[in-house]
């Protein structure tokens, strides 16, 4: 077991946009299979942090290192561009809030799933088709829609397709930015359920940004509460939500409307 190897190590990461500190001295470790939720209001810097972690944005200072399948640790910003791109295709996934940012709308659903496999070297058409069908099923999309382009799908279907596209290649770490954000409540519940199942079954580590504390409770093992770019509190998810210590976390939790 390599369970004691930290998967993602984050040390003193800061990012400024002009005078604005979007991300202020953030440090944490993520272990394999662990789900970390990042919560906070709009403008708290959670998406900026996520983008830095996923190497989509270069931080102004700090270190982010990743341990690959072979146990090799590397600074993600010291890698060459092709290495980093390879990492993003093989070991990582990124689920965008808007599925249109993560899908190719004009190629078929099956093509969207298969493309990820082709990126990691799969060439056999039959295998790719078979995997695409399997994943259509797993994310509860009708097989009959496999040859339709996702622009003909509803938002919830597109989001499930984006998840299939990300998970088909067996990533070890998936970044998610408000994955249930733009969806109706009933569609949201179904998607959450699906994500919960898949994350547990595949033992994939996840960093998920959400402003919805119910989503955070359902999916994450651990939480970080962000405000003005800084982490004000972190810990076990139910501890942070049921016994928040920081004034801002208390305000967040007590602001939830009861249904």
């Amino acid at each position: 077991m390599s369970d004691d190897d930290v998967l993602l190590h984050v040390e003193h990461v800061s990012k400024y946009f002009g005078q604005i500190r979007a991300c202020d001295d953030v440090s944490f470790d993520l272990w394999p299979g662990e789900v970390l939720g990042i919560v906070g209001e709009s403008g708290s810097g959670k998406t900026t942090l996520l983008n830095c972690l996923a190497a989509r944005l270069v931080p102004d200072s700090g270190l982010i290192s990743y341990t690959n399948r072979h146990g090799e640790v590397s600074d993600i910003f010291a890698m060459s561009e092709p290495e980093r791109r390879m990492l993003a295709r093989t070991d990582w996934g990124f689920v965008h809030q808007n599925p249109r940012d993560g899908l190719r709308l004009d190629i078929t659903a099956g093509g969207n799933i298969g493309e990820r496999l082709m990126m990691v070297g799969e060439r056999h058409y039959g295998n790719i088709r078979h995997e695409a069908e399997t994943w259509m099923n797993r994310v509860e999309l009708e097989l009959g829609r496999i040859d339709s382009p996702p622009r003909t799908f509803s938002g919830g279907m597109q989001q499930r397709l984006q998840i299939a596209r990300n998970l088909v290649s067996g990533p070890r770490l998936v970044f998610m930015d408000e994955p249930t954000g733009g969806l109706d409540v009933s569609v949201q519940a179904r998607l959450l359920d699906l994500l919960r199942e898949l994350v547990r079954e595949l033992q994939v580590a996840v960093v998920i940004v959400t402003h919805d504390l119910a989503v955070a409770r359902l999916l994450s093992d651990r939480l970080m509460v962000m405000r003005h770019g800084a982490v004000v509190e972190s810990g076990l998810t139910d501890q942070v939500l049921d016994d928040p210590q920081h004034a801002y976390s208390q305000l967040l939790v007590s602001s939830i409307l009861q249904v």
Binding site: D193, L236, Q239, Q245, Q250
Partner: protein, 242 residues
């Protein structure tokens, strides 16, 4: 597996203090208890006693590491080692909950769309038990607690209070964990089901489980508790808790 006279300490709480600071209400401080210590051995059931507001539920939540503490240690016997939940990393706490520490709360936290059978089987699945066996054991537990079979494939969101509580008890006892925390496990049950839960508690003790519980029902408490811990003695002097 467990020897007949097993007296290992399973829970060792020492010097526990807990204060709630309510930042959203002018920084009010509510001190719940100070310097609380207790031990629970394998095969033993400890009942928490005291009036409403004495901190019984707070202590239960602290024992589950759901609430934090200001000072003190909460050591539990996990895979042969004493692990302090108050200072452990989240993933350690989750591992202790998965393998060692079960909690039956008063209310079932319902997850949309998950069938009752899966709710009960989930702790077993988390221990690596295969789906078929986990479902078989979950069925046996639900049948024992008289949850009608027609409900097993439904999500428990719409069940009655008593039905939800029995689902919760079934889930809590299914995995036969070494330590169980029971918060009013019989509160909304009729006589037959109360008897049934008492039977489960006795069996858990017989296999060596350490149990801490809140039992408002005197009859249940007298039947299952080996010791009673009086929360009045540790009730903090300060604070506005009634």
């Amino acid at each position: 597996m467990v020897a007949k006279k097993d007296t290992r300490t399973m829970i060792a709480v020492s010097g526990l203090s807990k204060t709630f600071v309510l930042h959203t209400q002018g920084g009010a401080r509510i001190s719940v208890f100070e310097d609380l210590s207790m031990d629970v051995a394998a095969g033993e059931c400890m009942a928490l006693d005291g009036p409403s507001g004495a901190g019984k539920s707070t202590l239960m939540r602290i024992l589950y590491a759901n609430y934090r503490v200001d000072r003190g240690t909460i050591k539990v016997s996990h895979e042969g080692e004493m692990v302090d939940l108050a200072s452990s990393a989240p993933r350690t706490v989750l591992e202790v909950r998965r393998r060692t520490l079960g909690y039956v709360s008063q209310f079932l936290r319902v997850i949309p769309r998950i069938a009752t059978l899966d709710v009960v089987a989930e702790p077993l699945r988390a221990l690596g038990v295969g789906e078929d066996e986990a479902h078989d054991r979950a069925r046996a537990m639900l049948a024992r607690l008289n949850v009608p079979e027609r409900l097993w494939d439904l999500a428990p969101a719409t069940f009655s209070g008593g039905e939800q509580q029995r689902v919760n008890v079934a889930r809590g006892f299914a995995a036969e964990l070494p330590i169980l925390l029971l918060d009013e496990p019989t509160a909304s049950l009729d006589a037959i089901n109360r008897q049934c839960v008492m039977g489960l508690i006795d069996e858990a003790k017989a296999r060596g489980a350490a149990i801490v519980g809140i039992f408002h029902d005197r009859e249940v408490r007298d039947a299952v508790a080996d010791r009673v811990y009086d929360m009045r003695e540790t009730l903090a002097a300060s604070g506005d808790a009634a």
